[in-house]
Symmetry: C2
Subunit: 410 residues, 2 copies
Amino acid sequence: MDSRRCLRSKRMSYIWCIHSVMNNLLKKETDSRVRKLQQTIIDARADACIITSAVNQYWLCGFIFDGYLMVFPDGEPMLFVKHPSDIPDERVKMIRKPEQIPDRLHDAGMPLPARLMTESGVLPYNSLLRLQAALGMPEIINVSGELRRIRAVKSVYELNQIRESAAIHTQVYGLIPSLYHEGMTDLELQIEVERQMRLHGSVGIFRSYGENMDIFMGSMLAGDNAQAASPFDYALGGKGISPLLPQGANGTPLVSGITLMVDMAGNYRPWMDDMTRSFVITQAPDIAWQAHQLSIDIAGTIEQTSKAGTCCADLYHIAEEMVKERGLQPYFMGTAQQAKFIGHGVGLEINEPPVLTPRSKEILETGMAIAVEPKFVLPGIGAVGIENTYIVHENELEKVTLCEEELIIL
Amino acid sequence: MDSRRCLRSKRMSYIWCIHSVMNNLLKKETDSRVRKLQQTIIDARADACIITSAVNQYWLCGFIFDGYLMVFPDGEPMLFVKHPSDIPDERVKMIRKPEQIPDRLHDAGMPLPARLMTESGVLPYNSLLRLQAALGMPEIINVSGELRRIRAVKSVYELNQIRESAAIHTQVYGLIPSLYHEGMTDLELQIEVERQMRLHGSVGIFRSYGENMDIFMGSMLAGDNAQAASPFDYALGGKGISPLLPQGANGTPLVSGITLMVDMAGNYRPWMDDMTRSFVITQAPDIAWQAHQLSIDIAGTIEQTSKAGTCCADLYHIAEEMVKERGLQPYFMGTAQQAKFIGHGVGLEINEPPVLTPRSKEILETGMAIAVEPKFVLPGIGAVGIENTYIVHENELEKVTLCEEELIIL
């Protein structure tokens, strides 16, 4: 073997080795996740669970497909796949339609399920009725909420993905002052940020749960556009540029005296972080600096006082108390339409459990990742405040969005 | 009044006048659409129809909201709105949850519906069960398909939006040669095209129907990435850059001898066009030119021979015949996974009726807009072909995507 071939062969075997280590790691991850779902199936005394959503297919398999992932109380799952036709997984059984599942089950010596868990929170009514009829009318049990609760507690691998995403997110936000130039609109600046996000590996879309979560790559709100209420379930709204997507930047000129809040997606890995930073155009009134400092202080206090075991409602109460103390209630989380909300879990979807609201009954658990976003909307000025993502440990919160928190002057 | 105030006042009244004309036009449009849905409700002998999807809310109201649009066989619809709270429409009744709808109906002297049409094709199972229970368990009838059929035939206003979108789409595609530089990957070029799309008014996301239509701003396929099968319901696939979105560009270097197919979204208006153009990097084998010319010829033949009354299946048969004649069947609409499909309707969603397949029973109607996309995938080279959007008239097809069709050398 000449030296070049030898080198190449060494390099190939190194790549193969990395590939194989990654594959083993991913297999361990997905096996462990399948076991968690199997416990849920057992607890619900169900016979099987069928997974159809991209997020949960990916979480349980490491890839997505058009078809039905069927998980049983024990043993290996079965993958009933419409396409693609080339998945290298021996658990795959190709089908053209759900009506073929009973035959495939029969061939494998499996009975039809009498009690079936499905993602009833996301699967369209007609698709679920068709699936139910195809499988001989099993009783349907909703697994959507329970899967969200299981996914809320992340593995070491998953938490590392959030840290990695946050590190890239920080790099991209660091570019914002250099992307800005005088005379820009919010939308023009957002477009340059979107480009940098893509160049840094953002896949573009990001996943969310629920029917009112449309958004494009995130939100940038300048001046009084931060007051505009939108139909979507985000902390703040914005008018947007289309009646079909009334959300976010609306072409507001970035003029002296207003603030700009940047809450663009942290989707640089399948597991995401969430981060907001705020900017001042040239100069802003004192109240903008005060409200922004309060946001930093609230996030800092929550970081200092919270850990596994803390009630999620308490995080909201800490914020509410501090806001009252400084008399900024009229601007907290909006003006006309105020969100009773201080943050949320984050992971494969941008809005995972737990939810940080005064009525939340949830408790922080080790391995959760939460985004804390105390924000203020100041009429005539704009939105200010920060949002950080934290990982919950036994004795502390770990901040992963390590980006300058002060108001930055553009 | 000084002259400046007078000028301003004239300008304001001009703007107000334009605004008022637009509002009247939109009101006429939405009134006419509501009447079409009312006929469907009457035909189904239903008591009401509840609309929850953004696309159909927009189509029927001109705006979207979080809540329930309730249409009756006659009279004005009612809008049960959770948020935003500031919609200037007297038909709005604010609610916090669907369980409050019966009281609001009662206040208006309306009975609960016994037969209710809903968007069962898109509304999640649990959301529909909750709505059904809230309304006293009416019988459920699916309106999704019928709404799609109604929307497939567009008004003059809607068709003009498609023409306007196509004109901007053409401008953006015209920039591609200037955005390309040697040494780029497919993804790097796509990112520059995305930026131009946004600068030209693209809202970013685009709407589609069905559960397997994830995509980000469109598709660019270079070289053999065009052969990769994806789980999504698009004519061609691509590996993508994330296991959560295995679709489109994957970082393929744009090297001499391969082709690049550009099928980015035409979402410059709520009503969209759809257009594909193909490029050669430096040079390509003869077969690439031949297959591309065949695509142009197929689209041209369909344009010459089709009009209102033509069977949609015939459009596919024309293409199939021409492909056989030139012996290019192994490359038509994919290689390993070939789509039996030559195009689709387009409008507020990218995949509207009619569908142009050999089994389609649909007939072209005046006012439909269709995208015709005969494409070829050449192993070792890449994808070639074009896609045009046509408006169906009584005696002809009108091409609206007026952009150079030849293979362009980059």
